[in-house]
């Protein structure tokens, strides 16, 4: 069994209550931080831990904290990003539902480290049940003196509020989230200035993902050095992976970074293999935005070495043969799934969620959706595949926020690895309406796969 830091007590009855959470050692980190550490020492521990942002970007959390500007007499804010909307990702919902106090404890320690007197947890609006759970947990913590004025007699004051979103994927982007928290449309801001200088209400602000903030608790309890011993290389600690799609046991798993992908998919401790005895065709390893990989490249690098669940290993080979860790939303496709249909589905998602601020994204996402719809429904032409490639290239890198890239990458990678399936849809417009392309060579081990000559 691998080590669990966040989900260790997930099955303890009543762990969602303050009482049971305390019995299991909860709020020790708050006592230790507020009574024995200075804010600078906490930031130092988080830096030592090597913790990287768990929301998707993977930026070192300690470094992000150290960028926070501290002008005299200006309020500073910590905002927790609980706008979990990346298709394939549902770990934050799981954590907040079952162990809400882990997030609240992390928020108190982190707010103290950053000097925030008021902090917000921005939860996506659809998660009303989780908002109710968090509000109840905050009320419990406040009644017990963990929040409010003069916490533990240390003179530190903190108010913690839950803010509901309104249903917009784009608000997971930190500057869009801040706009939304200010009561506006979720249009991302141009950076710089970064939120660390001018964030919420123009004040210095740190925005962190739910899982990153919860991970601060074990880091403070055991020390940054201990945390850094878990994992592999620069991918330290444990990570929550949301597993979905055609798996025997989909769900949320806490893994030590560095676990082989093959073990994660097939071992009974994790996903238990592909459902209904079918074969694996492809995976999206880190949420819908990251490149899709065929089965063979999912399990091994192009050179045949096994691929691991870590930031570095998943991106090994660049976009040519690798993908990204992203938010840890692991989606598995079995042999009956259609890559064209799925790419169309994802494109529709990005078109729906584009805020409309930048022309390449606003126009490009809709254009890609239409072309993919056409191919999927048997009306495509060969030039459509090249057109898709052209559109995605013109979106990537040309927008204010990463939604443009996120919309481009699934299309680019689907064409890169599954071009023959797109072409089959075009050559066989009738057949492709009633049957799927199947698994083709996607599962053949790399060393045996036929070599395609470059033109």
């Amino acid at each position: 069994m691998s080590r669990k830091l966040l989900l260790e007590h997930i099955n303890v009855p009543g762990i969602n209550t303050l009482e049971v959470y305390r019995q299991k050692g909860g709020y020790r980190a708050v006592e230790k931080a507020l009574k024995t550490l200075t804010p600078e020492e906490i930031v130092e521990e988080v830096k030592k831990s090597g913790l990287r942002g768990r929301g998707g970007a993977g930026f070192p959390t300690g470094m992000k904290w150290s960028f926070l500007a501290k002008p005299e007499g200006v309020a500073r804010y910590l905002v927790c990003n609980a706008d979990e909307s990346e298709p394939g990702t549902f770990k934050d919902r799981y954590l907040m539902t079952h162990i809400p106090h882990a997030l609240i404890e992390g928020m108190i320690v982190s707010s103290f480290a950053l000097g925030a007197k008021v902090s917000y947890i921005y939860v996506r609006g659809e998660m009303m049940p989780q908002i109710r759970i968090l509000e109840k947990a905050i009320a419990e913590a406040k009644a017990a003196g963990w929040l409010g004025k003069n916490i533990l007699g240390t003179g530190y004051d903190l108010e913690l509020y839950v803010q509901p979103g309104g249903g917009a994927y784009i608000c997971g982007e930190e500057t869009a989230l801040l706009e939304s928290l200010e009561g506006k449309r979720g249009n991302p801001r141009i950076k710089p200035p970064f939120p660390a200088i001018a964030g919420l209400y123009g004040c210095p602000t740190v925005v962190n993902n739910v899982e990153s903030i919860a991970a601060v608790v074990p880091i403070i309890n055991d020390g940054g050095d201990e945390y850094a011993k878990i994992g592999i290389g620069r991918s330290t600690g444990t990570k929550l992976i949301s597993a979905s799609g055609n798996l025997v046991k989909p769900g949320v798993y806490e893994i030590e970074l560095g676990l082989p992908v093959e073990e994660f998919i097939y071992s009974d401790e994790y996903c238990g293999g592909i459902a209904n005895g079918k074969r694996l065709k492809a995976t999206v390893a880190g949420g819908s935005s990251v490149p899709v990989l065929p089965a063979n490249l999912t399990l091994k690098y192009a050179n045949g070495e096994p691929r691991l669940m870590s930031y570095e290993s998943l991106s090994e080979g660049g976009f040519a043969t690798g993908t990204m860790m992203g938010s840890g939303g692991f989606i598995a496709f079995d042999e009956d799934q259609c890559m064209v249909r799925n790419t169309w589905n994802f494109s529709r998602f990005y078109h729906h969620e584009s805020c409309g601020q930048c022309s390449p994204c606003r126009e490009g996402t809709g254009w890609m959706e239409k072309v993919l719809h056409k191919i999927e429904h048997g009306h495509g032409t060969m030039s459509d595949v090249d057109l898709l490639w052209d559109i995605q290239r013109k979106i990537e890198g040309n927008t204010i926020c990463p939604l443009g890239d996120a919309a481009a990458w699934p299309v680019a990678s689907a064409i890169r690895h599954f071009r023959d399936e797109f072409e089959w849809h075009i050559k066989e417009p009738v057949k492709s309406q009633s049957q799927n392309y199947g698994i083709a060579n996607y599962a053949v081990p790399i060393e045996k796969a036929p070599v395609t000559e470059d033109k």
Partner: protein, 170 residues
């Protein structure tokens, strides 16, 4: 006034305004506009949609222009700008849920309820629509029912039939 639907003006109750006061107190002085999204949720929980006259009263309450409320209400997908069924069913239709049969659930709802996506059944009880990822991909297909946003996971056509019956008899 934003013309989205023929409507008779509504009046916000004093109980609702008391809830508004509590929400407004969460933000620093001068930054009360931050309350806008939560207030619109409160309005929707009361009326099951967001009538324009309510938006105008929210604008007056926060001391902002009505357009500032309209632009937010039309940007975010959760706010209904026209009346829905008493139970508004929202089914996730994004990739991971489709891998496990979300499209079948949508087709089944359309046949079962006898209305198209976005329409309300004659008895006023139900409406449904497909929505984008609800962050429950491992438990798909899923649907949620506003205004409580209770989740129903691992749906089958049978469990959807059962759910509809239960709601009818509620």
């Amino acid at each position: 006034m934003l013309k989205v639907e023929e409507q008779t003006p509504v009046q916000l109750s004093s109980e609702l305004l008391a809830k508004f006061d509590e929400v407004k107190s969460r933000y620093p002085e001068g930054k009360e506009k931050s309350a806008l999204l939560p207030l619109l949720h409160l309005v929707q929980a009361e009326f099951l949609w967001v009538p324009t006259s309510a938006m105008d009263q929210v604008a007056a309450y926060l001391n902002i222009q009505p357009i500032e409320v309209y632009e937010v209400a039309t940007f975010y997908t959760m706010y209904f700008l026209k009346p829905q069924g008493k139970y508004a069913l929202e089914v996730c239709r994004t990739g991971p849920c489709c891998l496990v049969g979300a499209e079948k659930i949508l087709d089944h709802l359309e046949a079962k309820l006898g209305v198209k996506e976005g329409e309300v059944t004659a008895d006023g009880l139900f409406s449904f629509r497909g929505v984008e990822c609800l962050a429950a991909c491992g438990f798909g297909p899923v649907l949620q029912i506003s205004p409580e946003y209770t989740f129903y996971e691992n749906l089958t056509t049978d469990s959807v039939d059962q759910l509809i019956e239960d709601l009818k008899n509620k």
